[in-house]
């Protein structure tokens, strides 16, 4: 929506309008609970192009060719409940509306989505969970998008099938999406809710002042000291979803007389576990911003954000595990000396420092220049079970040791493993029963045995068998941009921007805890597992993570296993014109960009000896991507009540460095066939607005071409590698992916009485693969790039797993004049699909170890095995409510929600495991007496959860 831009446009014209005589509407706006004036409120005469903002003392004024008769005045401000006042404008009269009241929105819904966003980001390193988009949408005023942001987000619903890499998240005009995968890292500014209320959301590809944007919209969070409401706020929240408690205190000075403004915030979120067991939460956030307004033309703002976040992760689980342990089960934690310890902790610590310069050259031209520096690391822990000791005999090395995966859900710990063969006997059933019983009674991480093993070895002078490893990404990023806005006349607004950023990203594994041991031998324990490579080279050399420093014993804090850096840069330019006329608004925008990536190996990996692009040490080739984009669109008002909007865009997007390097941990190889993704998208909306009823319906279509993806897994029996030679840990590279997203979405709300609002929203989409992308595997277990058949995976017409394709909501909000409110929504979701195994859709599926088709291959059974699973539909009911009171200078309030009131059990998503990716293995696994050993893993939704927030404002 173009609200904000139009406001700015109008403000720029303010001096001209002020001199016009005739019909006028003037007024002032006060805070309903404090009685203080509210600046920066958007005041709109509904269904007209008249919009103004209140000034520093809350006053506003309309004049000119105002619409006459009965009209509605809309008051909007972030953090306040939007108000609609009926007014009558008479020709030539002055209508004085002094003392209009706006109420602070105690609902603070933004916390809700932030919880789910943080959950998602923290739960996994690299899976569908990180794609949640609701954070982008939080500040949208659109009924549908609000439903998507708040009520749909718990289910990974994605509006139009788009995830957060299809949106842009900016802070003070600087893009925060990571170059690694194009996604914003929400934890970087988590816990700062009180200072993130100023958000400008631009829906879809609609024009915004900052950049070209992307399909899912652009959200700019203004974190600028002078823009905050003066006063303080202290709040305490209690919940049982991710964190159990949150404390937050903030104070904003507002713009002081000497031109200074400052704002500070401290917050802490904590919990020993959320809805899922063992998910510790420990997050502290600090924010400070200082701004100096030198004069009406120059302001300089400094903003510093330090959001530290530590979180225990959980795991998607198979059907079998779900039946044994339920949806709150998390295998990653176990007791250590009676206290819960999670083996998979994620720590994020990436502070941001920012300087912003705002310069109004004249009333029609402004220039905003920003520079930001972000540094720090994201670390994910896991247990390394490959500890060994070096034995050197006659100059030859062997590494003795290593342990089985200690994960309690390791497949050999589950009943299905003991019933894997046909016709199991008494012994098998006994073992299956015992395994199930043990898993049910315990099933948690056995820290004691890890310490016991290390202690036993330490006493004998050996190295640690187990260690707690971190996979660390340590980034330094510098971003600079300049954003210019020029108003040529009352119809034409021009925007432009130049952006540059440079990232140096170090990636390595690090020993965090030797678990009682004294040292860990840095070699690849699995290096000599594969018979295909027995004759080539010396196993002891292949096992080295760094040939230049072999057989190192590493201690806590040391890097090991892999160590490399990525240098990435992105330069982009953006230009846009927006044109507004009485019945028609339209825009045209374009973007050019250039991205480069280069890897530098800091270790010389034993599997890929040598330096340079063909090896693992030193620099890879420098790869660059040149991209461009164009977009255009229009809004046409048939009448004030009936509008239509149409937008189209075509652009290309460089891949993130996640997919550019095919095996970044071990070598300098670039992904074969990698290129920029091309995106074409269009949508068409009909919008109806009346005093009592608002509605929007939109049809959308997007096509994505030449996309790429990478995944990592262990798989068995790859075709063509010979008998017993097909087991490998692989990197799967998928390129030339073509997808299509199309569907309808709608939102409507009816203000039945001034206090009672009825709302409905829904989306009906279909997100499919449109071609058979290229697929190849790389691995240290075989040479080169492994392709199957024609080198493609038959994905065409499969669904892209992107949450429920259909979501519907109906609900109401009641807002009592006596400062309390309650709302309820019923939400229905269906047509969510499980993410399929790409490998199982290649020719590998039907091929035996010698590359020939299985002699027992049955196409009918094959079709059944490859059918994509659709998850069960489900309904969720959410309740929301709050109240506030005034005590002297203090205002006290609370806000609470209960989600999933009926405690519905549901699956939000899932994925097929690629461990078994051929006909024989899969059909065998599906027909085991005890169920599959490697069935799909599912994400389960939360049961009934609550969130309550108490706050004091002053």
């Amino acid at each position: 929506m173009k609200k904000h831009l139009e406001c700015i446009l109008f403000l720029l014209m303010w001096p001209l309008l002020g001199h016009t005589q005739g019909t006028r509407v003037v007024g002032s706006i006060l805070d309903g609970s404090t009685g203080k004036a509210i600046p920066d409120v958007s005041i709109i005469i509904e269904n007209s192009s008249f919009k103004v903002k209140s000034d520093a003392i809350g006053n506003f004024s309309f004049s000119g060719d105002l619409p006459l008769g009965e009209q509605f005045l809309i008051l909007e401000k972030v953090g306040y409940v939007t108000k609609r006042y009926p007014i009558i404008i008479n020709r030539g009269d002055l209508l004085d509306l002094s003392g209009l009241i706006m109420d602070y929105d105690q609902s603070d819904k933004t916390d809700l989505y932030v919880i789910s966003i943080s959950d998602d980001n923290l739960n996994s390193e690299d899976d569908v969970l990180t794609e949640n988009i609701s954070g982008l949408l939080q500040s949208s005023k659109d009924v549908f998008l609000r439903a998507a942001a708040f009520d749909f987000s718990a289910t990974f619903f994605k509006p139009r099938g788009l995830d957060n890499s299809n949106g842009k998240l900016l802070i003070n005009g600087l893009e925060m999406n990571k170059q690694f995968n194009g996604r914003p890292q929400w934890a970087n500014w988590g816990g700062l809710n009180d200072v993130q209320r100023n958000q400008e959301f631009t829906m879809g590809s609609a024009p915004n002042s900052y950049g070209f944007g992307d399909l899912a919209g652009t959200n700019n969070i203004l974190m600028r000291a002078s823009k905050y409401q003066p006063g303080g706020r202290v709040s305490f929240a209690a919940a049982n979803r991710s964190y159990q408690g949150r404390l937050m205190g903030s104070y904003n000075s507002g713009l002081l007389k000497d031109g200074w403004a400052y704002s500070v915030l401290l917050s802490r979120r904590f919990g020993n576990q959320g809805f899922i067991e063992g998910t510790l939460y420990d997050a502290n956030s600090v924010f400070a911003s200082v701004e100096k307004r030198f004069n009406s033309r120059h302001s300089v703002n400094f903003t510093g954000i330090y959001a530290q976040n530590r979180r225990g992760r959980s795991s998607p689980i198979t059907e079998e595990i779900y039946h044994l342990k339920g949806r709150t089960y998390n295998p990653f934690w176990g007791l250590q000396n009676g206290r819960i310890r999670n083996s998979r902790m994620r720590t994020i610590e990436e502070p941001i420092l920012m300087l912003n310069h705002y310069w109004n050259l004249n009333s029609k031209l402004s220039l905003n220049t920003n520079i930001a520096y972000q540094w720090g690391e994201i670390a994910n822990t896991r247990i390394d079970n490959g500890g060994t000791r070096l034995v050197r005999i006659n100059g030859e090395d062997a590494f003795l040791g290593g342990a089985r995966n200690p994960d309690p859900t390791y497949y050999q710990n589950l009943p299905s493993y003991y019933l894997r063969n046909t016709n199991p006997g008494t012994y098998d059933y006994t073992l299956a029963f015992l395994a199930g019983e043990t898993f049910q009674n315990d099933g948690q991480w056995d820290w004691f045995s890890l310490y016991e093993a290390n202690e036993n070895l330490r006493v004998r002078g050996g190295n640690a068998l187990y260690a707690l490893q971190s996979n660390v990404v340590k980034d330094r990023q510098l971003s600079i941009n300049s954003i210019v806005e020029a108003s040529l006349n009352k119809h034409i607004l021009l925007n432009g921007a130049l952006n540059y950023r440079r990232l140096h990203s170090e990636n390595f594994a690090r020993i965090e805890d030797l678990l009682g041991g004294t040292g860990f031998l840095d070699i690849d324990f699995f290096a000599d597992e594969n018979p295909n490579l027995v004759s080539e080279g010396i196993a002891a050399n292949r096992a080295q993570s760094d040939l230049r420093n072999p057989n190192r014993i590493v201690k806590e804090g040391d890097r090991y296993t892999y160590n490399y850096s990525i240098d990435a840069s992105l330069l982009s330019a953006f230009a846009q014109g927006q044109f507004s006329y009485k019945r028609l608004n339209f825009y045209i925008g374009t973007q050019l960009s250039h991205a480069t990536y280069q890897r530098q190996g800091l270790y010389e990996n034993g599997f890929f000896p040598s330096e340079g692009p063909e090896g693992s040490f030193g620099k890879s080739k420098l790869i660059s991507f040149a991209d461009y984009g164009v977009k255009t669109g229009l809004t046409y008002r048939f009448t004030g009540r009936h509008l239509t909007e149409a937008r189209i865009s075509y652009f290309s997007k460089a891949p993130g460095h996640r997919t550019v390097f095919s095996n970044a941990r071990q070598n300098n190889s670039l992904t074969s066939g990698i290129g920029s993704e091309q995106i074409f998208s269009g949508d068409l909306s009909y919008i109806f607005r009346s005093p009592f009823f608002n509605a929007r319906i939109t049809g959308f279509y997007s096509r994505f071409m030449n996309g790429s993806d990478i995944s990592f897994y262990f798989t068995q029996d790859l075709a063509g590698l010979g008998l017993g030679g097909g087991d490998a840990f692989v990197q799967e590279l998928l390129t030339n992916i073509e997808r299509q997203n199309m569907g309808l979405e709608f939102g409507l709300e009816a203000q039945l009485t001034p206090t009672f609002l009825l709302k409905a929203a829904g989306s009906f989409g279909q997100y499919t693969f449109q071609n058979n992308p290229q697929l190849y595997l790389t691995s240290v277990d075989f040479e080169g790039e492994l392709r199957f058949g024609d080198g493609r995976t038959n994905l065409k017409n499969y669904r892209v797993a992107s949450g429920p394709e259909r979501a519907f909501q109906i609900g109401f909000e009641y807002r009592d004049p006596d400062f309390w409110n309650i709302g309820l929504t019923a939400n229905y979701f269906s047509h969510a699909y499980v993410d399929i195994s790409n490998l199982a859709r290649t020719a590998n599926f039907s091929s035996d170890f010698d590359g020939n088709t299985f002699n027992d291959y049955d196409p009918v059974i094959a079709r059944e095995l490859l059918k994509q699973e659709r998850l069960e539909p489900y309904a969720l009911i959410n309740v929301i409510g709050g109240k506030s009171w005034k005590f002297g200078d203090y205002y006290l309030g609370f806000f609470a929600t209960i989600n999933n009131v009926l405690d519905q059990e549901y699956r939000t998503g899932g994925f097929e495991q690629s461990r078994y990716a051929n006909y024989r293995r899969l059909s065998e696994d599906r027909s085991r007496p005890g169920g599959p050993m490697f069935g799909p893993r599912y994400f389960f939704g939360n049961g009934t959860t609550y969130y309550i927030n108490l706050y004091i404002r002053f």
């Binding site: 404390l247 904590f270 290593g402 006994t430 016991e452 036993n456 068998l465 027995v534």
Partner: protein
């Protein structure tokens, strides 16, 4: 600012309240105390005796793999005591613990089957352990005494879920003194003991070729790499068996002679003895003086100008008719025969399915006159298949008259290649052997020394050629 101070004070209080239980986890106390047993101890010998009784014998019958003795769940617990001798640290033992009754001078050992990996970090060598027998079964599996959980008519793994209920550890860890033993003293009741073989070496064919073989990572190794170990003090031989999953499988076999410590056990079929090491550190074959036979050592040049003798076995009329001697000197029936594949004929032998032990068979060539030539050399082609031991050697004799046991045989320095354990190898031509110092009418002999059960490697011999000038 008053508000601000209140805010800070309030925040301080609340932040103290909001600590999470995490970080600085103290190291758990993993020390072991003497277990409290709830019943009597029982020796391994007594366990073996109970099984023997169940078999209806006074002594344990190690070939009876069907009789199983099960310890019922009684009111009183029964504990078998033993000292751990095996280690799965290097992956050469898998889901089994070998225990013996004493740390030194043991008399009997037993294999405990347990579905846990790794075991050595809890059951390290020398550790005294107690196995509660109630509900478990004993029997002979793979030819050795075994305890585990009954699975039909066999003894199978104890599941990991019962590990802590059934096995208790003593803090006592003794040094295991390996039992000195000669290969010819291998007995059934010595299996599952930690033994020391003195004065042994790997067969010359394994370690003296172009590249010494590895413990178990040759392309022909399946499941286990089996390497022929010879005694220097007797003519006895045994197999060192190493898992292809062992961490040291790719190390080269040491070429010297000396001692090694290993667990005495049997092959998968329970038929032949073999030894299995915990770690390559237990192999001390460092002596430089090997005890190989005194090979014929001729000086001077060899030549291939004239062909003095050749035999390709094509259109072969039979050994006897062609002047060859084919004789089993150990009294069995198995001997050499003529085989053919894709039109090529050769002399072949295998001990497979012979059910004879030993199988010592000579194949002796017709006499070749070496008096009228000089610089003679011998070579032949050999195909080694289903290799489970290098058991062929080549000799020459200047006084052979028909009975190989009467003749004086001079061993020829021919390295017999290794072949796949589970299939056919390829024909290879041996490097030519200098026989220029022989004279008169010389016979060449191929001696096969196998046994079934035991080493039954299949050999195909072809294109025997004697050249000179």
């Amino acid at each position: 600012m008053r508000h601000f101070k209140n805010l800070l004070a309030g925040a301080t209080v609340l932040i103290l309240y909001s600590c999470v239980a995490d970080d600085d986890f103290s190291i758990p106390d993993t020390s072991i105390s003497d277990p409290v047993l709830e019943g009597p101890e029982i020796s391994i010998a007594a366990v073996a005796g109970q099984l023997a009784q169940e078999q209806g014998n006074t002594e344990l019958d190690y070939t009876d793999e069907t009789t199983i003795f099960t310890y019922e769940f009684e009111t009183q617990a029964l504990y078998m005591v033993g000292y751990v001798v095996s280690s799965d640290e290097a992956g050469n033992f898998f889901e089994e613990i070998i225990v013996q009754d004493q740390p030194e001078n043991p008399s009997i050992g037993i294999k405990i089957l347990l579905d846990v990996t790794p075991l050595s970090i809890r059951y390290d060598q020398g550790r005294k352990i107690y196995l509660q027998l109630n509900g478990l079964s004993t029997g002979i599996t793979n030819g050795v005494l075994t305890v585990g959980l009954r699975n039909g008519n066999t003894v199978d793994n104890i599941p990991s879920s019962l590990e802590n209920d059934l096995i208790q550890r003593s803090p006592e860890v003794d040094s295991i003194i390996p039992l000195p033993i000669n290969i010819d003293d291998f007995e059934d009741d010595k299996t599952n003991l930690y033994v020391r073989l003195e004065e042994v070496q790997f067969n010359r064919n394994l370690v003296l070729g172009e590249r010494p073989l590895t413990y178990a990572s040759e392309s022909f190794d399946e499941f286990d790499g089996n390497r022929l170990l010879e005694s220097c003090s007797s003519n006895e031989r045994t197999i060192l068996s190493t898992s292809t999953f062992a961490d040291f499988k790719a190390l080269s076999l040491p070429s010297g002679r000396g001692a090694l410590n290993a667990v005495l056990t049997k092959d998968f079929f329970g038929e032949t003895f073999n030894v299995r090491i915990n770690s390559p550190e237990d192999v001390y074959l460092t002596g430089e003086e090997r005890c190989d036979p005194d090979f014929l050592d001729c000086e001077g040049a060899t030549a291939d100008d004239i062909l003095l003798f050749s035999e390709d076995f094509q259109d072969f009329e039979g050994f006897e008719a062609a002047g060859w001697t084919n004789i089993n000197i150990s009294g069995g029936n198995r001997d050499w025969s003529i085989g053919s594949f894709e039109g090529n004929s050769y002399a072949q032998i295998t001990g497979f399915n012979a059910n004879e032990d030993p199988i010592n068979v000579w194949l002796v060539s017709p006499g070749v006159d070496l008096d009228s030539s000089q610089s003679e050399a011998l070579s032949f082609d050999i195909q080694v298949s289903f290799d489970n031991g290098s058991i062929l050697s080549v000799y020459a004799s200047e006084d052979f008259t028909g009975d190989p046991e009467e003749a004086t045989w001079l061993p020829l320095d021919v390295v017999i290649p290794s072949g796949p354990g589970g299939g056919f190898g390829n024909f290879e031509t041996t490097p030519s052997v200098n026989i220029s110092c022989l004279s008169g009418t010389v016979h060449f002999g191929f001696l096969y020394e196998g046994s079934d059960p035991g080493a039954t490697t299949r050999y195909h011999i072809d294109n025997l050629i004697i050249t000179g000038n």
